[in-house]
C-alpha cells in the first residue's frame, strides 16, 4: 500500500510536467491548428540554453531568466514567424511534417554544439525530505508538483478571468468573428506561442534535474505530452491537464505492476482505447471539421 502511495506521488509529479507540456500543445492547436511534433525537443532545448548561459559564468537564477527569455524568443516568436506562418497556409499536414523535421534539426544541433553525452542540471528545488502525515516525501517531487500546479492555475486564471484570456479563447473558437469584433487575432496567436514557449521552458527546468540534460530526452517527453493531449481532449486545456496527470500515474503503475519492458506501450493502449470509444478525449468536446 505504501508502495502504491509512493508510485502515485512520483507519477503525479512526472504527470504534472507532462500536463504543462500537453497544455502548450493544445494551446497551439486551438489557436493556430499547429500540431507541434517538436514539442518534446522544445522541452529539451531550454535546459541546454540555461546550461550555456551558466557556462558563460552567469549564476543559476540569471541563467533561468535568460533561458526562459531565449526560449520565448526562439521557440515562441522564431518558431511562429519562421516555420508556422509560412507553412500553415499550405495546410495542417505539411506544417506537422515540418515540425517533425524541426525536431530532428534541434536534436542534431544540440548533439553537435553541446555533446551526445548527458550533462547534470541543477535542481531549483532543494534536496531534502518532508514528513507529511508520517510519510516521507521528497522536497523535489513536492516542489515539481507545486510549481506545475501553480503554472496550470495561473494559466487557467489568465484564460478564464482576464479580458486577454477571453480574447484568446474567442480567437480559438472562431478567428473570423473574433476579427470582426475587433480582437487583434494575430497578436493573440503570437501570445499563445509565447505562452507555449514559457511552459516548455518551465517543464525543462523541472524535468531536467531528474532526466539529465541530453539531446534525446525530448523523444519520451514529446510522445507522453502528445498522448496526454489526445487522451485528455485535444481542444481543452483542462483535458490536457487531466491527460498529463493520468499518463504520469499510469506509466508509473505500469512500470511497477506490469513490466518495465511494456511500460511505454501502456499509455499507447490507453490512447487507442480512448480514440475508439471517446474520440474527443476524456474531457474534450466533439469538434466538427471545417475543411
Amino acid at each position: 500500500m505504501s508502495n502504491l502511495l509512493d508510485l502515485l506521488v512520483a507519477g503525479l509529479a512526472t504527470g504534472a510536467i507532462y500536463a504543462i507540456v500537453a497544455v502548450g500543445f493544445t494551446l497551439l492547436w486551438q489557436t493556430s491548428q499547429t500540431i507541434n511534433f517538436a514539442q518534446g525537443e522544445f522541452v529539451m532545448l531550454p535546459a541546454f540554453l540555461m546550461l550555456a548561459v551558466m557556462h558563460a559564468g552567469a549564476p543559476f537564477w540569471l541563467a533561468i531568466i535568460i533561458g526562459i527569455l531565449l526560449s520565448m524568443l526562439l521557440l515562441g516568436l522564431g518558431f511562429k514567424m519562421l516555420l508556422v506562418d509560412p507553412m500553415l497556409r499550405h495546410g495542417v499536414l505539411p506544417l506537422a511534417i515540418a515540425t517533425m523535421a524541426l525536431a530532428i534539426g534541434i536534436k542534431e544541433a544540440v548533439k553537435q554544439f553541446f555533446s551526445a553525452e548527458a550533462s547534470p542540471f541543477p535542481s531549483i528545488v532543494p534536496a531534502g525530505d518532508l514528513s507529511i502525515f508520517g510519510r516521507v516525501v521528497s522536497l523535489q517531487s513536492l516542489g515539481v508538483l507545486v510549481l506545475a500546479i501553480l503554472a496550470v492555475v495561473g494559466l487557467t486564471a489568465l484564460l478564464n478571468r482576464t479580458s486577454l484570456g477571453h480574447q484568446m479563447q474567442a480567437v480559438a473558437q472562431n478567428p473570423t468573428v473574433a476579427r470582426i469584433i475587433g480582437i487583434p487575432v494575430e497578436r493573440m496567436i503570437l501570445l499563445t506561442f509565447l505562452i507555449n514557449a514559457f511552459l516548455v521552458a518551465l517543464a525543462s527546468l523541472l524535468i531536467t534535474p531528474i532526466y539529465l540534460a541530453k539531446f534525446s530526452s525530448g523523444e519520451v517527453l514529446g510522445q507522453a505530452a502528445f498522448i496526454a493531449a489526445i487522451v485528455g481532449g485535444f481542444n481543452q486545456v483542462r483535458g490536457a491537464i487531466a491527460g498529463g496527470l493520468l499518463i504520469g500515474v499510469v506509466d508509473n503503475l505500469a512500470a511497477a505492476y506490469i513490466s518495465t519492458q511494456y511500460r511505454a506501450a501502456v499509455p499507447m493502449i490507453l490512447l487507442v482505447v480512448v480514440i475508439l470509444f471517446r474520440p474527443q478525449g476524456l474531457l474534450g468536446r466533439p469538434e466538427e471539421r471545417t475543411v
Partner: protein, 379 residues
C-alpha cells in the same frame, strides 16, 4: 662549403623520406565505438584514450619505427550500425580492430572480425563474449566472470547482506552480469529480494525504486550503464533508500559522479581500472589525459589507452607487424609495466582473451572515488 652542406642534408632527408615510405607505411588501426547514443560516454572516453596513446607512441617514433594511424567510426550505440561499421572498417584491412565498447555490439561484430582473421581488442565486459571459442577477441578489462565473484564475496563477507535487490539493464551486458551474480548469491545463500529489469536509456526510475523500497533488502546491487546509474542513484536518494548500494565500475565511474552529484556518495563498486588507483603510472596517465581533454577520464579512457599499448607490446614481442600472428602472440602473454609503462599495470592474457590483473574496491566519498581495498592479481 655551406651551400653544399645544406644541399647534402636536403638530399639525404629526401632520400630517407622516400625510402621510409617505400619500405613501411603507417600501421593502420580501425576503431568502431559508441561515439553517440546511449553509450556516448563509453565511446568517447575509449576514443580519447586511443588517440592519446597513439599520439604518445608516434611522438616517440611509432612501433618498430612505423607510425600508427587510427580511424574512428561511430556505432551510434546500436549493434546493427556497429556491424555495418565494422564491415566497412574490415574492408580497409586494419592491423587490429579496436572496439566496440558495448557487449551487444561486440557480440554481433566479433564473428565478422574473426572470419577476416583480424584481432579485435574490445571494451565489452559480458561474460559470454570470450566463451564462444573466438581466437581473435581480447578484453581490455575484466569480464563479468572475473569481477562478479569478487563483488558477491564482498557483499557476503564485508556488507554481510542476507537479501539483495538486483537492478539490471535489459541488454547483453546487464543480463550477463545479473546471471553471474545471481548464481554467486545462490552459493552464499543470499536471497534475491527483488529482481528488477530496466531498459537502456530509461529516464524515469521512480517505479523501480519504489519496488526496491517495497522489497526492503539489506543491500542493492546496481548493474546499469553510466547515465542510467546516475538517474537511479538520484531517485534512490529522492525516495530515501538507505541500504548500501553496490555495483561494478559503471556505478562508481567519474561520469556517474558528475551526473548524480551528491546522490553518488556512498555508492561502492568493484573496479578493474580506475584513474584514482594508487598506482603511479595510472596517476601519470590521468594527468596527461586531463591536460589534453580537460576532463578526468573514466575506466573506458584507460581501456582505449591500454588497447594501443597492448598492440605495441605484442608487435614488439613479435619483432614484426604481422596481423596473422598477432592473436597467437597475445594469448598467454604477460606484459609487465616495468618493460612497457603504457600498460600501466602488469597484465596476463589467457587463451580465451580474458585478463588477469589487480583490481580495486572503491567507494564514492564526497564526489570522489576512494580506493578502499586492492584486490591482487591472481597469478
Amino acid at each position: 662549403m655551406k651551400p653544399f652542406g645544406l644541399a647534402a642534408i636536403l638530399f639525404a632527408a629526401l632520400a630517407a623520406g622516400t625510402a621510409f615510405a617505400q619500405s613501411s607505411g603507417p600501421i593502420k588501426l580501425a576503431d568502431v565505438a559508441e561515439l553517440s547514443g546511449g553509450g556516448a560516454t563509453v565511446g568517447n572516453n575509449w576514443k580519447n584514450g586511443i588517440d592519446l596513446a597513439v599520439e604518445e607512441i608516434n611522438a616517440k617514433g611509432g612501433i618498430l619505427g612505423r607510425k600508427i594511424e587510427v580511424t574512428h567510426a561511430d556505432s551510434q550505440s546500436n549493434p546493427g550500425v556497429a556491424r555495418a561499421q565494422v564491415q566497412k572498417a574490415l574492408d580497409s584491412e586494419p592491423y587490429v580492430l579496436l572496439g566496440p565498447g558495448y557487449s551487444g555490439s561486440v557480440k554481433v561484430t566479433a564473428p565478422l572480425v574473426a572470419e577476416a582473421g583480424i584481432t579485435q581488442i574490445m571494451g565489452g565486459e559480458a561474460a559470454e563474449l570470450t566463451q564462444a571459442g573466438n581466437k581473435f577477441l581480447f578484453r581490455t578489462s575484466f569480464g563479468q566472470q572475473s569481477s562478479m565473484p569478487k563483488v558477491a564475496k564482498y557483499i557476503n563477507d564485508e556488507v554481510k547482506a542476507k537479501s539483495v535487490a538486483v537492478v539490471w539493464v535489459n541488454n547483453d551486458f546487464g543480463r550477463g552480469g545479473r546471471d553471474v551474480i545471481t548464481k554467486e548469491f545462490g552459493g552464499y545463500g543470499i536471497k534475491v529480494a527483488a529482481d528488477i529489469s530496466t531498459e537502456a536509456g530509461q529516464a524515469d526510475f521512480a517505479a523501480d525504486v519504489s519496488k526496491i523500497k517495497a522489497a526492503n533488502p539489506d543491500a542493492v546491487f546496481i548493474y546499469l550503464n553510466e547515465e542510467e546509474s546516475a538517474r537511479i542513484l538520484k531517485e534512490l536518494k529522492r525516495q530515501g533508500v538507505t541500504a548500501p548500494l553496490i555495483g561494478e565500475t559503471t556505478l562508481v565511474g567519474q561520469k556517474v559522479i558528475e551526473l548524480a552529484g551528491d546522490a553518488a556518495n556512498g555508492a561502492r563498486g568493484h573496479v578493474g581500472l580506475t584513474t584514482d588507483a594508487p598506482v603511479e603510472l595510472i596517476k601519470q596517465f590521468r594527468d596527461k589525459f586531463s591536460k589534453k581533454y580537460n576532463y578526468v577520464p573514466d575506466h573506458n579512457g584507460i581501456k582505449g589507452y591500454l588497447a594501443i599499448y597492448m598492440i605495441k607490446a605484442t608487435t614488439e614481442k613479435m619483432g614484426k607487424v604481422d596481423p596473422k600472428a598477432f592473436a597467437d602472440t597475445l594469448h598467454g602473454l604477460t606484459i609487465k609495466a616495468a618493460d612497457e609503462p603504457g600498460i600501466l599495470m602488469d597484465v596476463t592474457f589467457d587463451q580465451n582473451g580474458d585478463i588477469d590483473r589487480q583490481g580495486f574496491l572503491v567507494e564514492v566519498v564526497e564526489g570522489k572515488q576512494v580506493v578502499k581495498q586492492v584486490l591482487p592479481k591472481l597469478h
